[in-house]
């Protein structure tokens, strides 16, 4: 099973792209630790994660082809 992850704002700089496909994730905690293993700088950042356009908490279970969005707060105005 795989999920598609889209990154907003400064997080796409940290990851180096706007979009990723991640294999074999269980819940959000698994996905987060996979992301941080690949992109250790992510741990310094503040962000919220949404699955299929709904903001969720860490224990949320992921299904095949779920769309995950990772968004930081924006400073600018």
């Amino acid at each position: 099973m795989q999920v598609n992850v889209i990154f907003f704002g400064v997080l796409s700089d940290v990851v180096g792209k706007n979009m990723l496909t991640i294999q074999d994730t269980g819940n959000m905690t698994d996905l987060k630790s996979k992301l941080i293993t690949n992109y250790p700088n992510l741990k310094d950042y503040t962000y919220r994660m949404a699955v299929n356009q709904q903001m969720v908490e860490d224990n949320y279970l992921l299904f095949d082809n779920d769309s995950v969005a990772v968004m930081p707060p924006f400073a600018g105005g």
Binding site: G9, Q53, M55, P72
Partner: protein, 376 residues
Amino acid sequence: MNLNKEEIQYYHRHLILPQIGKTGQQALKKAKVLVIGAGGLGCPTLMYLSGAGVGRVGIVDPDKVAVSNLHRQVLYGFSQVGEFKAEAAVNRLKDLNPNIVLKAYTQRLSPENAVDLISQYDVVVDATDNFPTRYLINDFCVYLDKPFVSGSIDRFQGQLSVLNFTDNQGNKCPTYRCLFPNPPAPETAPDCSQNGVIGVLPGIIGNLQANEVIKMICGVGEVLSGKVLMFDALSNQTMLFSIQRNEQAVQQALQNAPDFESFDYESFCSSSQQKINEISAVDLHKKLQNNEKIQLIDVRSIPEFQEELPNAIRIPLNNLQANIHNILKNDCQVVFYCDHGINSIRAIRMLPNHQTLKNVFNLTGGLVAWLKEEKK
């Protein structure tokens, strides 16, 4: 709140819309909206709220119009550079719509004045460019039970939500802290002066903010409450994400309520994870006058200000990694600086073992603070 003859002519295109009509236009006339921040987001919001006929518009901004503002802060002109933005805005807007009351506040929103300012208005617009003010607006709007429309931008993307709204069943909706309970470390969330911004982006997001205010006041359409809109100007993709109210986060906003005036939003929003040595412009001035041996490093790639510190060497942020060894082999004090003092923090974080480097400093507030100090 009847409309006079001139108002009926002015608002004609609203009056013939069944969804607004006379009732909606009268509600707009009765409404009081406080726009906090008269910059990139504030300019379009202010123009369209004034044009729409919001009866009383308050404008909070302590800054003055600068040349580098104009590419996106299109309410102003060259003839107004140096004036307080809030006052320059009022001067333009009263010509746009003489039928409304405009009020300029040239002080910074602070825990001391927030209750007094916000309680005079029905709806607040968060059009600020920094997290201390964003959390301050959130906490005081929660405390005073006011809905607010939050907008924020990063280069080509924008975020929008109506927060702390009470829906027509009386339910309390999510707040900014329900979305982001705690602020990011400042160097992980650069603003427009560090990262740049395409000028038209705050135009789009600011207009969407005005649209939400108008919908809320007229009771028309779906207010963007319980949702966050993310917009990407490069692809025109718009996504809506649903969010939930988090009572714990709301309580966090309220828990200091009696002590609000002493809560330090600046330090709440400053980096807590890794301490970096800061040096103020005053102290740097003294050290240089005492002829202390200090290596100054300017990390700006495209300077906003032409001025430089004496004998500084220029190593733009993206060349830093390759030049680190040359910088740090001598044991003198090193001060990093940039225009606003944020990119220089990012530079220091790129150094190896920066936590143990006792002789490395960041110039607090950057060249802006230095130039202010020099003028004294």
